[in-house]
Symmetry: C2
Subunit: 528 residues, 2 copies
């Protein structure tokens, strides 16, 4: 029996309390990878919670510059280990090592560095000062954050190095990170680097804690524990809803990012105008990374006619001809198969699922569905089921009014897009559909596929339920994603020397943005 990997609790890599273990698998070779990992018992959570609560106390006294130092050092360490991380992440996810060690690593470290600078700058804190009655408020750290993450972006969404981690830490909170079960090895390397960086920045022992897996019951107990500040979850709907219910029942903030089919409307004149380019773009974004993007456009809405029929035929060819990619795990494949069945049963017709070539390992034929707008409107809930992976559906509407009804029948979605022609021929259709689609999605695009997700202050990765659990927040974008992990603290005529530095009359850095009597300024509060 091989050695069971240690967990990171209270500043120690130590043996887990566990009755069960698990292994990861290479989804391409379908063979188990080396490394045996523990399913932690509650005792591990309990110890981590206690250490995290202590860390949260200690952080009250710690300069945000040390948080900045921690995150900048983590980014450097990750880049210094680019190849080994990319290699293991590729083995555990089946995704190309080149993407992981290259573009995804770069995006991830850029995100961490943005968070580092936002932590030190502190302008994200929504600082509000009214001088007349001496009332001052700001966002402040919420306390220990539990993070559950997916494995479709093994680095940039990793429970240790991803956006939830970076924004929770940058907001001043300790983190209890639970690995994705498909990526225990990658996450362990990242946790080692994060621990090293946190030690070098002289942060509390409980700043970063790391467990590999919990039972469902312990997960629910963790997010509802009195020592927890908030939870971030990205993943499947069933697990997300279970955690959300547990946290909601005791009023603990939880930010869930669950399912989304990311509707794209291709208006007829846009197809006429940009046909071939659209075929390439849409085909690529559906199948790239085996379609394992939370913003993969799984639902394409078109108006019936020669343009859309040609477009669908061309996409069908693309699906037929492209070799299917490998899915991230056996579970991902099983889930895709199950969701395809749901869509079939709900009345969608498969127009491509017997491609010319077979994929490697856990793979599934590229699957393209078609359904009429009228049929979609008979079962809109079932027909917008997310089939996570290399599947997509065309909804062919009779006219714009039917397309409007289809859009109105959608749940909340992460992203949505309308392609319209540049010559103005689609303007009336756009004007009808855009306001309807706008309210259904967190991020709205013109003429653009939703897969790129820049870490920008203008980013919105959220949207109405079930795309996210609260439509007022974003899980991507610095500094706005940090607001999730904060509480609003007001000071009502506190003595000036009792105020936190950010709220005192003198601007602590000369660069901190504060709203003073309704005006944003980096200046001081004028002496009365």
């Amino acid at each position: 029996m091989s050695e069971i990997a240690p967990v990171l609790i209270a500043g120690q890599w130590r043996a887990a309390n566990c009755a069960e273990t698990f292994r990861a698998e290479n989804p391409i070779t379908q063979e188990p990878l080396s490394g045996e990992y523990p399913v932690s018992a509650w005792e591990d959570c309990d110890a981590a919670l206690t250490a995290a609560a202590e860390a949260a106390d200690q952080l009250l006294e710690i300069s945000p510059k040390r948080i900045q130092k921690f995150l900048l050092r983590l980014a450097d360490l990750m880049e210094a280990n680019r190849e080994s991380i990319g290699q293991l992440a590729s083995q555990e996810s089946g995704l190309p090592e080149k993407r992981l060690a290259g573009r995804e690593m770069d995006r991830t470290t850029d995100q961490i560095r943005q968070a580092a600078d936002a932590a030190a700058d502190r302008s994200w804190k929504q600082i509000s000062i009214e001088t007349k009655r001496d009332m001052r408020s700001m966002l402040a750290a919420i306390g220990p954050v539990a993070i559950f993450s997916p494995n479709n972006f093994p680095l940039s969404w990793n429970t240790i190095s991803g956006g939830d981690f970076a924004s929770a830490v940058a907001a001043g909170n300790p983190v209890i990170a639970i690995a994705n079960s498909s990526a225990p090895g990658t996450t362990k390397i990242l946790a080692e680097l994060a621990f090293q960086a946190s030690q070098e920045a002289d942060l509390p022992a409980g700043m970063v804690q790391f467990l590999y897996r919990l039972s469902h019951a312990d997960g629910k107990r963790l997010v509802a524990d009195s020592r927890i500040g908030a939870t971030a979850f990205t993943g499947g709907t069933a697990a997300g809803l279970a955690l959300k219910a547990a946290a909601d029942a005791v009023g603990k903030p939880i930010y869930v990012a669950m399912s989304s089919v990311n509707p794209i409307v291709f208006l007829s004149n846009a197809i006429r105008e940009q046909g071939e380019e659209l075929v390439n773009r849409f085909g690529n974004v559906c199948l790239k990374g085996t379609g394992q993007f939370c913003t993969q456009p799984g639902l394409a809405i078109v108006i019936d006619g020669a343009e859309s029929q040609g477009f669908i035929a061309a996409i069908k060819s693309k699906f037929d001809e492209s070799t299917p990619g490998t899915l991230g795990s056996k579970k991902t494949l099983e889930n895709l198969v199950a969701k395809i069945e749901v869509l079939k049963k709900a009345g969608a017709t498969v127009i491509s699922d017997e491609g010319k070539s077979k994929g490697e390992g856990y793979s599934h034929p590229n699957t393209l569905f078609q359904v009429s707008g009228a049929d979609f409107l008979k079962s809109p809930a079932a027909l917008q089921t997310e089939a996570f992976g290399n599947a997509a559906m065309f909804v062919v509407c009779q006219d714009i009014a039917e397309a409007k009804a289809v859009i109105d029948s959608l749940h909340g979605q992460l992203a949505g897009c309308i392609y319209s022609s540049t010559d103005g021929a689609d303007a009336a259709a756009y004007a009808t559909l855009a306001p309807r689609l706008r309210r259904k999605v967190g991020r709205f695009m013109d003429d653009k596929m939703p897969n790129g997700m820049p870490v920008s202050i203008g980013m919105g990765h959220g949207g109405p339920f079930p795309a996210s659990g609260h439509p007022g927040f974003t899980s991507v974008g610095i500094p706005n994603a940090m607001r999730r992990f904060a509480v609003l603290q007001s000071y009502d005529q506190a003595r000036h020397n009792h105020l936190p530095e950010e709220l005192q009359n003198k601007n602590p850095s000369g660069q901190l943005w504060r709203n003073i009597d309704g005006q944003w300024t980096t200046g001081d509060v004028a002496d009365a």
Copy 2:
């Protein structure tokens, strides 16, 4: 049989669908007031929801200046009817007409006018623009807001004229307002004025809709309906939790403000220094308005010693000698009696409840409890039960360490305060306790009673659960309270002419605050 009051649905005052009716009562005379009011059946909610959804659509095209006009006109109309509103509100609440027609009216109309101006200004929208990748985001209206309100502030917390109403409307949303069952007449007058004002501002028919009462089942159905954007609830814990569970289950934002005992720490040197003044202030704030404030300080923490014993004795005299006020309703009285029993059973000792005089109508003897810190720590959950009304409790701690443990055992609270001496003698105790208390409360004060609640940008009226449902928000304070009723909408490379005015390159008013590439400015986006 008298005529049943009409409800306001889709711009019509019309007969309710109702099987049941109710009457209000004068809590002083304990006699029924004139007026018979309907308990609406689901059909009324359904019709209101449809009209509200239509109104939300129409509002997308309406200038925020019309919202401003509506709210300013409402404030004017309320002041023009100051006496009649104050009179009826006094009859329905038992509170002094002078307070209602005077200070409370002024606070309420000031709040509405602040909201009006914030609506037109739009700087609350957290506008974020990144020019390099052309990503832009802002907060936008969330859709129809359901409001459930208490009757302790018959105007400033009224479901029609209060802070939730003002901030939901100012954020651009139609409102479905449910009256407090103790205040149907007052709320009807306010609804008439609000409807008149909304018509004069040419707003949609469904902008303001008004029902008197719903069954519990219909309340839960309303907050979870797909047409609802969000819900605001202020009131008791049982009702709040039931609505919250219903809304949470379908991911609809709900902002609940429930129970809070608003701990005040009186450090020994502060008592020594400011003894008599503290007795007057604390005694007054416990008993004023019969203690019916959500920020009434129901829990006073002191350190055992000559100072605190003298202080408690003086407060006991104050409780003994003051004539108890009248509670807002029979239900409020029954609830107070029940909660006093909970506190007794949990081990608190009554040291005053047989005052020299009896109150009028639905009244209860002023009730003062005492419990040791050690006993408090045996049953902290039960002993921080809010006994809403003219009751308060001293927790007498052996030392600062025990006071720290008591504070650590508290749930989330709306407000908290520490009185410390000005000579520095309490500084060490303050330094130990303040960070602990700070994290438990939404609003923190030095040397100040928590009952005043200015409508300020620096205000925080919220705090951790169960004081509020999400610690990142405030229900009082313009513009921050408006953020509750908003969704984050991102535009990713939208064509410039498709952007909302607020996100276009040109600053639409020259006064709109926007964050452009990390800098707050009222300027334009510089042309590339």
